[in-house]
Structures are given as C-alpha cells and as structure tokens.
C-alpha cells in the first residue's frame, strides 16, 4: 500500500478521480445557482475533465516546486538523488531527462498498442464487404481513435527519443528546463485517458480531423476527443520549448551548430513546428468546443461562421505536423547510417539544412488537403507548387543517404535492417505525395485509400521504422543489455512483408475508387480479396510487434551484458557507461571535431574534460587552435 501510494501515477489517478468528482459537483452547484437544470452532459463533463486533469497533475506532484516558488521558498536545482528502488522513479514525477525519455517511449508504445487494436478491429470489418462485426458508428470511433492515438503515439515517441538523447548528444547535464520537461510528459497520460473516454460518451465519428459542422453536433464523445488532443498539443508545445532552448544554449564547448549530431538537427527543426504550429490545432479544436458548449458559431454558416475556416486553421498545423513526425525519424536514419556503413554522412550541412528547409516550406502547403473544398484555382495552383517543392529537400536527404552508402562497409545488424525498411517505405510514401499534390489528380484521389496508403507509408517509413531502429540501437545504452539479434531480424522481415501487403492493398483499392472512412464497401467493386490480403498484412504487422515486445522484455531481464560501445559509434553518448547513471554530463566534454569522421585517420570528435576522469576519449589529442576555432 505504502509502495503503491509512493507511485506518482497511482496518486495522480486517485487525485484525478477526486478532482473529476469535485468538478462535477462544482459545475452542478453553479448551474443550480444560475437556475439551470443541474445536469447537462456537455458542460459538466467539460469542467470535470479540466478539473480531473489538473488534479491528476497535482497528485503526481507536477506543481510542487512551482507552488514552493510561488509561496516564496527557493526551489533550487531539481534534485538528482532519490530514495527507494530505481524502478519507482519511472512512475513518478522525475526531472531526469533519461527517466522522462523512457517514460515517453514506453507510453508511446502502449498507445501504439491500443491504436493497433483499433486498427485490427477495422481490418476485421474490412476484410469482407458487408457489415459483420461492428456498427458504422463503432467503426467510425475505432477509425478516429486509431488515427489520433497513433499520432499521439508518434508525438510521444519523438519526445521520448529527443529527451533521452539530446542532453547525451550535446554534452549537457540535463534539459534546459527539467521541471517543465517532466510536466510536459505528465500532461500526456490524462490526455490519452480523455481520448479513450470518448468511447464512453458515444464515441466520435469525425475521424482524427474533427471537421465541423459534423464535429460541432452530436455525441459528447467528440468533446472528449477535442479536449484530449488539446492537452496533447499543450504537452507538445512545452516539450518544444525545452528542445529548442537546450539545443541553442546547452551545447558542449566547441560544439558549433554544424558539429551537432544530425539527429539533433531533426529534432530542432521539428521543435519549431511544434512550438508554432501546435497552437493552431489546439485553438481550432477549442473553437469547436466553444461552439458546442456556448453556441459560438465560429464555423456555422447560419450564424456568420465558416466551416472552411476551420480547415485552414486545422491544416496549418496538421500539415507541418507530419514533418514533426518524420524529421526526427529521418534524423535517426541520417544518424545511424554512418555507423553501420562506416563512412561519414555525405553532405552533412545539406542534410542538416534540408531539415530546416522542409520545416519552413511545410508551413506554406497546408491547403493541399483542401483541393476539393472549392478554393480559387489560383490558390490551388500556389499550393500545388509549394507542396511539390518539399520533394526537393527530401530528395537531398535521399540522395545523400545513397551517397553515404556508396563505397561503405555495410553491416546488416537489426537497426540497419530497419533503416533499410524505412528507406523503401518512406520512398514509396514520398513518391505518392506528388500525385496528391497535383490538383486535378488529387481531386480524384482525395479521401480514397490511396491517401491512406500514402500516409501509412510516410509514417511507417518516416517514423515507425526509424523509431524501431532507434529502440534497437539505443537499447544497450538504456538498459546495459543486448537484445536478441535473431528475434530482431524475424520481427523485421515479418513486419516488412505484412506492411507491404497492408499498404499494397490500400494503394490498389484506392486507385480503383475505395473511399476512406467507410465501414462497408460495395461488393460489386470486387475489392474483397484485396482487402482480405490487406487485413492479413495488418495482422502480421501487429504480430511482428508482439515479437518485438517479447524481445524487449526478455532482453531487459535476461539479455547478455552489452559491451561499452556495441556499434563502435563515434557519438558522445557511447562514451558514458551503459546505463548512464546520475547526471548525464556533470562536466561537459570538449568538442574538437566532427561527429561522423568514420575512416578519417586520427580524427577526434571530443576530448573529455579532466574532471570526467575517464580514458574513453577519442584516439588523439588535437592542437589547441582547433578548439578555439570551434568556439568561435
């Protein structure tokens, strides 16, 4: 009991429930005082959800230090010591970026699992024409939840990788704002709970895009969906503040922007999108909630509003958001490729800047999701050109990867296989982008399974495969143990085959006119076989992920001890013991060279400062003038 109560998660849940109850009571009292009927689902649940979330955070202990500061005490630097068993930290409000990184990653996988179940329900229904297992309403809820929870899972996965790696790679003791960092993680669990609560209130049948007027009427479940996304967005914004500040201000001495590991560039570019864009989806959803609760007709034409305005605001985030998903993922590809190819990253600067290029151009393309809403053709043309422009910086990445491989010594370990999987799937996803970018063609393909195929390929290639590569690659760093290489390879091949079957069927049916977001399709279209293949593929992917889960859990307990630097990598994080104990870099290392100088004789990346007291520095010392140069 004592132990349970010492877990922040449990305290948070209990407080959350109490807070929800207080919220309900409070709203009902206020409503009675105002002479209205005490119960009306929408407003009562709205207040209760907000109260519950805040209470959850308070119960976890997220506000403790701020409360101390507000009441005039010095809170000081966040503590780096703790009592009790180590695992308890993972369930508590902890400011260590490594803990937070793992918390994010595990939460991400759990959400991915839940969203995967939703996908399996859909695929079961779609395996044959006719309605067999679920009603159309249930299908729509499963579909929307699958989409939004997967997207949430991606955001958390990105934050997980970034949190764990940024300070280690930059030579910093921790993130710039450790408390804020922990807070932004702990906002995510209640947000996820809200999303799933929507099922208890009639579900939501709008898909993850939540377009009004459909979103503005009907079941209260939609309100939970909007609120859940709003909180997720809030968490994402706070995270971005940390990533940007840490990157700009906490780099080790000598590490100029162009000596940063390339993964950091990916996160940095993505963080700018998170910081600016996320407000747009958050606000657009809040506006719909206001329309539902108070009747403010932002998007209701009869009240002077405009449904298309919502789409502009929504996509102004949600397009760039897809680059939040991929930029860190592509960063992982660029980061790991040199290690497994044993060659420097080809065109480092171009690759780094292409991330910024993608992030920038990404803000100018949002209306390509709206080619059928009847915008003036002049506008459509503009968005067609800007959209296709993104292919240029993305192409730079691709060609640079190809050139990186050229002439190398490629080693096929599990992470490398996942990089190759990412490569092919992202290429397929990317190349289907220009089809959608060209207005007349998109007016045919819009809202068909072709689009579904496009984005599963980009998201698997740009996030899922690299994420898995990253987990395999840094598993020894995080746990000090090796995973099973054999199971890893089985996982990869099963997943690849399943995935190709799944998205192959999406492309094929989409081209032939299969609409998105339908529970049942016309048997006369003759899609039954192809859909069945797609369903089998989807189940294979899920099954392969179970193997992955087994591999991770088994290796965590019984894997062999990992060598200090199993990949022979030149990166900073491998200079530290695995797992990293305590403060990541109590004294920053001194950076004197470039991170990817594989094969360069006598190249040095860092010198450990004397206090670090370790010999695991790179091979040679460097003349003093070089250090100075780097400091400029």
């Amino acid at each position: 009991m004592r132990l349970l109560w010492s877990l922040g998660l449990i305290r948070g849940l209990v407080w959350g429930i109490v807070g929800t109850a207080i919220g309900i009571g409070f709203t009902m009292l206020v409503r009675m005082a105002l002479g209205k009927p005490a119960w009306e689902t929408a407003p009562v649940t709205f207040v209760a959800a907000v109260f519950g979330t805040l209470a959850f955070l308070a119960g976890v202990g997220a506000f403790a230090d701020w409360w101390r500061w507000a009441s005039g005490e010095e809170a000081g630097d966040p503590p780096h010591h703790h009592e009790g068993p180590e695992w308890v930290r993972y369930f508590n409000f902890d400011t260590d970026h490594k803990i937070i990184g793992v918390q994010y990653t595990i939460t991400s996988l759990v959400l991915m699992f839940a969203a995967g179940i939703m996908a399996l329900i859909m695929r079961l229904e779609l395996a044959q024409s006719g309605l067999q297992f679920v009603t159309p309403e249930q299908f729509n809820s499963a579909m929307g939840l699958h989409g939004i929870v997967m997207i949430g899972s991606i955001l958390l996965g990105v934050a997980g990788m970034a949190n764990y790696l940024l300070p280690l790679m930059l030579g910093a003791p921790d993130m710039a704002f450790p408390r804020l960092n922990a807070l932004s993680f702990w906002v995510a669990p209640p947000a996820a709970i809200l999303l799933f609560l929507s099922l208890a209130f009639g579900g939501f049948d709008t898909g993850w895009t939540g377009y009004p007027p459909l979103g503005a009427v009907g079941a209260t479940g939609k309100q939970f969906f909007y609120l859940g996304v709003f909180f997720l967005g809030f968490s994402s914004i706070l995270g971005a503040i940390n990533f940007i500040t840490t990157t700009l201000k906490m780099r080790a001495p000598g590490m100029s922007m162009f000596r940063m590991p390339i993964f950091v560039w990916g996160v940095f570019a993505a963080a700018w999108i998170q910081l600016t864009g996320t407000q747009f989806i958050g606000t657009s959803f809040l506006m719909v909630v206001l329309e539902r609760l108070l009747g403010m007709g932002f998007f209701d034409p009869e009240k002077g509003g405009d449904p298309v305005l919502f789409q502009h605001i929504f996509w102004f985030y949600s397009h760039p958001a897809v680059y939040i998903f991929v930029l860190p993922g592509l960063g992982v590809i660029s980061e790991l490729l040199p290690v497994f190819v044993r060659k420097p990253l080809f065109g480092y600067k171009w690759v780094a800047l292409s991330s910024m290029g993608i992030a920038t151009v990404g803000f100018l393309v949002w209306a390509h999701h709206m080619f059928t809403v009847g915008l003036p053709n002049e506008a459509n043309t503009f968005f067609m050109f800007t959209t296709m422009l993104v292919a240029v910086p993305t192409g730079v990445k691709f060609f640079s990867w190809v050139a990186t491989m050229w002439g190398g010594k490629i080693e096929f370990r599990t992470p490398m296989l996942f990089l190759l999987g990412a490569f092919v799937t992202f290429l397929l996803g990317g190349l289907t982008g220009p089809f959608l970018a060209v207005v007349p063609v998109d007016q045919y393909l819009h809202d068909t399974y072709f689009v579904v195929g496009h984005f599963h390929n980009t998201m698997f290639g740009g996030f899922v495969f690299p994420f898995l590569a990253a987990i395999y690659y840094w598993f020894p760093k995080v746990t000090g143990r090796m995973y099973s290489e054999r199971l890893g390879k089985v996982h990869f091949w099963l997943m690849l085959v399943g995935f190709v079957a799944q998205t192959g069927s999406m492309f094929q049916t989409g081209l032939f006119g299969m609409r998105r977001r339908i529970a049942d399709y016309d048997p006369s279209l003759g899609f039954d076989t192809i859909h069945l293949i797609g369903s089998i593929g989807g189940y294979l992917v899920f099954f392969s992920m179970l193997i992955f889960a087994y591999n991770m859990i088994r290796s965590l307990v019984a894997g062999e001890k990992a060598p200090a630097n199993p990949w022979n990598s030149r990166s900073l994080e491998w200079l530290l013991p695995s797992p990293v104990k305590g403060v990541s870099w109590p004294t920053p290392p001194v950076v004197v060279g470039h991170p990817y100088d594989y094969g360069v004789p006598n190249a040095t990346f860092v010198r450990l400062a004397p206090a670090g007291g370790s010999d695991r520095s790179s091979q040679t010392t460097t003349p003093a003038h070089e250090t100075k140069e780097a400091n400029r």
């Binding site: 009603t135 159309p136 729509n140 049948d205 709008t206 377009y211 009004p212 007027p213 459909l214 009427v217 009907g218 034409p301 009869e302 405009d306 044993r342 060659k343 420097p344 080809f346 065109g347 480092y348 059928t372 809403v373 009847g374 459509n380 043309t381 067609m384 296709m388 422009l389 240029v392 192409g395 730079v396 060609f399 640079s400 190809v402 491989m405 002439g407 190398g408 010594k409 490629i410 092919v424 290429l427 289907t432 220009p434 089809f435 060209v438 207005v439 007349p440 063609v441 007016q443 045919y444 819009h446 809202d447 081209l511 006119g513 339908i518 100088d597 594989y598 094969g599 360069v600 190249a603």
Partner: protein
C-alpha cells in the same frame, strides 16, 4: 580501396526504370473514365506515375547495388573511405528535381484551368447533399429527383451545396470530386462521354451513414434523356386529389428530402417504400414485428434509431427538433394516403 564505377547501377536504373515507367503509364490503374475532362486528369496521372516509377527505380538500383557490392566482408573491421560531400553533386540533385517539379507543376496548372473552363450551352444541375442522401434539381425542367440522369456529350455545370454537414460529390468515373459545403455553392463541370450506369459516392465523412450515402447516376442518350424528363415532369404533376393537409405533407417530404430515400411507388430504395406502409405489420431488425400506426410513424420519423426495419441500416437522420408538429401531422397524413 577499389574504385567502384557507377556504371552498373546506372545501367540497372534504366533497365528497371524504363520498363517500370512504361508499365505505370500503360497499366489500367484507374476505373474507366467517362467524362471529357477526365482524359486530361488521366494523362497527368500517368505522367506522374511514370516519373515516380523511374525515380523509384533510380534509388532502389543504387541502394540495392550498394547493399550487395559494399556489404561488410567477414573479418573486415576497417572503416569505409571518408567521403564528406561533393558540392556539384549536391547541386545537381537539388536542381534536377526542381526542374521536374516545375514541369509537372505547369502541366498541372494548365489542366486545372482547362477542366474548370466554362463551356458554351451548359446545362445546370443543382446538387444538394444531406445526411445521408442526395437530391438533384434540374432548374431548366423544374425536376427534383434522387437519381442523377445526364445526357451524353452535354456539358454540365454542377452547382453543389449541403444542408447539414460537409459531403463530397464524387463519381469515380467522372474523376474530380467537389465538396458540398453548407452555406456555400461550389461549381464543377463535366461532359459525360460514355453511356452507362455509375454510382455517386459521398466522399467526405459525414456521420454514421457516410458509407451508404450513394446515388444512382445514369448517362443516357439525348433522346432518352428527353423521354425521362417528360416522364418525370408528368410524375410530379398532381395526378390525384389530395386533402390540403396531405398535399402539404407531400410537398414537405419532397423539400425535406425524405423522397431521396423513400419511394412512393413500392420500389425499394435506401429506406423502405411508403406505399402501403400504413396499417401493415412491419418486421423489425430485432426480430419483432410492429403494427404501423400513427404512433409508430411518429417515432420512426422523430427517432428512427429506436426501431429499425429489418433489412435496413440505421442511417435515417433523426428529425426530432427539426419538424414542427403540424408538419409531422402533414407528412403522416400523406403517408396514409399511399395505399
């Protein structure tokens, strides 16, 4: 280090890329096209498919070759040659895709403006989408129907809108789709070229019944079209004498779009027919039967989800709060007359 020449992967690229491009250009990847504007769309589609196929082959050839030629030999623990970059190369693979993109972009722009260009002697058809059915109006003939009939080779201007939420007007064989948005009228033009039967499919998620929001589309010869028009105009003239209340009900069920899903002549549609409905024993989806009386009609209209007729989906919108009592009376009165 042995110098590898790019010859092999380059040859591979063409060996793989050209057949792939040709295949993608030729393959019947889309359903047959039935409108003039669609030819241009199909052309663009094939062009992009061919280019994408070639680019795919290019990258896959080089990667595939590298994976074989540059794999690590057992026992070799050395690093590869330190190549850091090559500016001319970087510039090339920035500029060439840029040129391709501008080429495709210009063609796309031209096609876009071409397909949306107004044509002489267009016929206007007004389309209204609502949960979960379609209504078509032919202002020139004063006809309202739930089946879209179009004369072949006649340029049509569709003016589309919606009454409740956003829907999207899409006939796959007509290629382009256009959203129907409450409070807006969108315009799209098609010239049907192929006689046949097609299905209009709502392409924007609009609620539980979205998947079933279909309508029949027929492209017919000019003379057949005129015949159909004559028949429709006849059908809509008041042939029998209805009480004022029932007449009002008839008018309402047309305006409210009931007749988009229900027929009055006994033929089945999205919903059960109204002919002979009143007084009959209706089998329900839960296995029971119910006598159709006024009370049942009332609940079926206000809250259709409560009792679902056997063999039908629960997609009829609830009219609770949308119908006044008098209007409801009138509609019920009208249904009663349909013996």
């Amino acid at each position: 280090m042995k110098r590898h020449s790019v010859l092999i992967p380059t040859v591979l690229t063409f060996l793989l890329g050209i057949p792939l491009a040709v295949l993608l250009w030729k393959a019947p990847l889309l359903p047959p096209n039935a409108v003039r504007e669609g030819d241009l769309v199909d052309f663009l589609f094939r062009l992009i498919a061919a280019i994408a196929g070639f680019v795919f082959a290019l990258i896959v050839s080089f990667v595939g070759y590298s994976l074989i030629a540059f794999r690590r030999r057992p026992g070799d623990t050395s690093d590869g040659p330190p190549m850091h970059g090559n500016v001319p190369l970087e510039v090339t693979w920035t500029v060439v895709p840029l040129l391709v993109i501008f080429g495709v972009g210009f063609l796309g722009t031209w096609v876009l403006f071409e397909i949306d260009r107004p044509k002489p002697n267009e016929m206007t058809v007004r389309v209204t989408g609502f949960q979960f059915a379609w209504l078509f109006e032919y202002p020139a003939y004063g006809i309202r129907t739930n089946e879209l009939v179009l004369p072949v080779e006649q340029p049509i201007k569709f003016e589309v809108t919606a009454t409740d939420v956003i829907h999207s007007f899409w006939v796959p064989e007509f290629r382009m789709k256009i959203d129907t948005i409450p409070g807006r009228i969108n315009v799209k033009r098609y010239t049907p070229t192929r006689i046949g039967e097609y299905t209009l499919r709502c392409a924007e998620l609009c609620g539980a019944g979205h998947y079933a929001m279909l309508a029949r589309v027929r492209v017919v010869s000019g003379s057949e079209f005129l015949q159909w028009v004559a028949q429709q105009s006849g059908a809509q003239a008041p042939e029998e004498t209805l009480s004022p209340l029932a007449a009002r009900g008839k008018e309402l069920s047309d305006q409210l779009g009931c007749l988009a899903c229900h027929t009055t002549d006994g033929s089945p549609s999205v919903g059960p027919t109204w002919k002979g409905l009143f007084g009959k024993e209706e089998p329900l989806a839960d296995g029971t039967t119910v006598l159709v009386d006024e009370a049942y009609l009332r609940t079926s209209i206000l809250r259709p989800g409560e009792q679902i007729v056997a063999g039908y989906q629960n997609i009829m919108p609830a009219y609770e709060g949308r119908l006044s009592d008098e209007d409801l009376e009138a509609i019920i009165e009208y249904i009663k007359t349909l013996k």
